[in-house]
Amino acid sequence: MITIEHLAKQYGTKAVVEDVNLTIERNSIAVIVGTSGSGKSTLLRMINRLIEPSAGRVLIEGADTREEPAHLLRRRIGYAIQGHGLFPHRTVEENIATVPRLLKWPAARIAARVRELLEVFQLEPATYAHAFPHQLSGGQQQRVGVARALAAEPAVLLMDEPFGALDPIIRAKAQEDLLAIQRRYGTTIVLVTHDMDEAFRLGDRVAVMSNGRVLQFDTPAALLAHPADPLVTRMTGQTDRALRLLSLTTAGEIAAPGAVPGPTVSAAASLRDVLSELLWRGAEAASVTREDGTPCGHVSVAALLRHGRSP
């Protein structure tokens, strides 16, 4: 659990972050979203003390982050950034091993961990372990960047626009991978982005920031249903908020019993995608099947419309 209390940062007389209070649950993903200059990156960097706060404090599992030297604190916290920041003179393997080496892990444990991460991130160890970063594609470099951040099994992972430099298709894949990895390792993730779609897709809770203040920190559904500030409404998008709401639920969650004739959709598909599919095909309902192909009911247009209504 990360507790942020009255955190503030000032440069001269300019307040970049003002009185931020957040509690981020263990094993959850918190997304900080805001326009550029809203102070979201500064807030993130105060968690691992890349920037020292002017006031307030950060507690990780109840311990004040100022209790140990900053560089030792950072070895316990994963950090992944836009443009990956891989060391160009080190191989993929050496890059990933950076923090475990700093922590003086035994060589065998480091090798096993590197191999495990390469496999988790779908980078064939035989091909990629000894490659240099410039020999990889943008998507692969980004995956190595995240693997490096996770190498020392940190309980907390901070990510600053990690997918900002990727094209939309690779970005969607990277987001999916991140969710899978979060489920696998149970890491508490704090991610900064300016992309509201990304925030809604990844965040268990989303903090909306503007001018150094957190306007609201809530679940995506609550941000849509009960925006605390007109700016939150504006940033979450007024025109397509019904569709955003639909995108937060999967077909499997609302499937009614019984199969129907017509198209078939996956249980993991969002209601937004199901609605789009039904509109496209001019159908009234679709059967829902699980990943293994077994049927789990059906979803009707009427049910979809009900779910898109203002709660």
């Binding site: 890349l50 070895r75 316990r76 160009p88 950076t98 923090v99 700093l102």
Partner: protein, 246 residues
Amino acid sequence: MKHGPLLLRGLALLLLVSFVIAPQRFAPLFAPLTQYGAPPIYDQGNLLTLTLAHLGTVCLAAAASTLIAVALAILVTRQSGRAFLPLSRTLVNIGQTFPPVAVLAITVPLVGFGEIPTLIALFAYGLLPIFENTLVGLQTLPPAVTEAADGMGLSARERLFSVELPLAMPLILEGIRLSLVINVGTATIGSTVAAKGLGEVIIAGLLSNNTAFILQGGLVTALMAVLLYEGMLAVERRLCRSVRTD
């Protein structure tokens, strides 16, 4: 075609080595340049010894320049040393703008004749390229890389030695190469203050009006400069194969 330059370098090396080991064999080549039966090949000292002494002086001076210039560049790129940047730059610039001959003139009364004044002059003269190159190397590191290094918890020292210096290495080596090559030529003036070196051959030629001597001293010096340049370039390529700042 790829082996053309390599062959050329090999020939240059062969020429240099065989000339300094057995210069008398080349006597017929230089004979037409002499008058009144003067010796065509320098005979007042051993060319091999002079060449090695010359090389030794240059390398020693370059080592000292490297040590000080790199240390200075590291100092002024740290948070705590940033204030010293203008001062360091001025000092290093003075070293380069002050003519080596003038340095000799000043240092001889202080430390006497011999190698020491030459070493001091070459040391001061060679600082600038190494300092400036190291500075640029350390100041133009990719920001994402240094941020990642900090974010992962490298200490200042670990960051310097395992990230900053390796990434700046191509530029540092380039600076050393420039400094070495400049000083191979400059070192010939050391012979005016009795330092052992190839300048001796040139000066002997000038004094006795022997063009063959002048040419020999000049050619050996030039060959050495070219070979040092190529050798350092090969070292740079070898050491920095993987350093790419993309």
